[in-house]
Symmetry: C2
DNA sequence: CGTAGTGTTGAATTGAATCAAGTGTCGTGG
DNA sequence: CCACGACACTTGATTCAATTCAACACTACG
């Protein structure tokens, strides 16, 4: 249905760093961009649970790098661990490549989400992470974050919580992979994306996939072909509508039932 | 081969709280048991990276509960999050049960390992955790651990690292489940156990499985039947020897090749 | 405009699940 | 101390979901 236009609209809505507002840096004159205080994501990101003064302190250690373009690496497997990153706009994927060249996608990251927490233990990153589209991030040198955490109990607690969410998320994936069928995995994946888009005030029923079918397959433990087939199957059942990267969730209830049935 | 005796020997060696030593409490008079300082696991557990004074402070907040017997729960899904636990002896499994009654094992825990870090974020445990055999644990009230972490940078850092290991471990499982065959998963599982036993100075080639085939299956995303079949297949190939719960790894190199081949 | 990357669809194959029947093991109570 | 019952494990036959192999269409970018 009226292809071009709806697609454009979507493309706009999905791109977080849209147009107008958030230019002028306020608290971080050395930065080319918004401070944590004025960042629209501060309700989701590290600043959550911090008061004004505390956020200001956090601001001091955040480095706002140049934008990354599609395919650019944030870091690579075995690089020395140095920072964690908060996605400001765009999206990223983490992946590992085993010796024999088989790749596996370990995660996708949307705005407001934290990247790079693997590596704290080992002092090296265990994943590679690259941008899926034009994206921008905030870099937070971990040693400084750690130091600041001593002074700000809220920050320490919050950071524990973030890491813990990571664990919880991984365990959900564990469940997903160990007992779900291809259809259940795919439905669950779409619903997961949906609520993550909702978190950043994007439509939970209409969005563009930033990743390829191949990426999805490597993440869900399925082949490209299977992912593609499931998409068409779900479309045939009128649960979703697919046009290339554009997804419309037509029947969230029924999608949830697919998983709930398990 | 000479069943009874070898099995007894194993049973002894696997049971961490063996016999002689570690009785008399040293630093913790209120405890019925050893202090962190004198605990044989202190090289693996939380005290790592702490100095004597710091360990003593940690000691103050550790509660050494009565032993748990097989099937006893440490906590259940949705219980209010209160503590993390360090396994002193024995073993535990974590699991979730979905609405329809299908269970999934989310992890196994051996001596020196930390249980209960799910829940920090949500304030409720997301798993249930129960003893697989007679076991004892150290309970560490999290609020106090958090407070102490402010004072002891080493502890904070170490705890970050522990959580991070948890993440790394989950990601390995992710890989395992998303692209490995039943045989690869099983081989990987056995090798994983092997090195965890080695960590606590038990034989890495000869050990007793504390869990059932069913547990293994629920953990690896396989059925009981498949796990059983793979065990016999690996035995036929002379890579392992199986007698009920007793496992002997005959050819670790070849077991690693099974995985490496992927 | 052409080429590489991305996505779809079909047919054949296969690895693991399911169904089914049976043996082995352990803990409990008589 | 033995017998019983519940649970744990094994093995075989069949089925089925997802992979593999193969061919082709679409899209997007230099």
């Amino acid at each position: 249905m009226n292809e071009g236009s709806s697609k454009e609209a979507l493309l706009q809505s999905i791109s977080i760093d849209a147009k107008p507002q958030n230019r002028a840096p306020k608290f971080c004159p050395h930065s080319s961009n918004v401070s944590c205080t004025s960042c629209r994501l501060n309700e989701l990101c590290l600043p959550i649970a911090l008061n004004k003064t505390e956020i200001h302190q956090l601001d001091q250690i955040v480095e706002r790098n140049r934008p990354y373009k599609k395919g650019d690496h944030l870091y690579r497997q075995n690089d020395k661990f140095k920072s964690v990153y908060a996605v400001r706009s765009g999206s990223f994927k983490s992946y590992v490549v085993s010796d024999n060249g088989v790749g596996r996608v370990t995660g996708f990251f949307l705005p407001g989400e934290i990247i790079g927490m693997d590596g704290i233990a080992s002092t090296q990153y265990v994943n590679s992470t690259q941008a899926l589209e034009h994206s921008s991030i905030c870099e937070i040198p971990f040693s400084q974050l750690e130091k600041l955490s001593h002074q700000l109990p809220n920050l320490q607690h919050h950071f524990f919580a973030i890491m813990d969410n990571e664990i919880a998320k991984d365990q959900q994936v564990h469940t997903l992979l160990s007992s779900y069928t291809a259809e259940e995995r795919t439905a669950s994946f779409l619903l997961g994306l949906s609520s993550r888009f909702a978190r950043v005030s994007l439509s939970p029923v209409r969005f563009l996939l930033p990743m390829t079918r191949g990426d999805i397959g490597e993440y869900l433990g399925l082949t490209v072909e299977t992912v593609s087939r499931i998409f068409t199957a779900l479309q045939r059942k009128k649960l979703i509508e697919v046009n290339n990267r554009e997804i419309v969730l037509l029947d969230m209830t029924e999608l949830r039932n697919i998983i709930g049935a398990n």
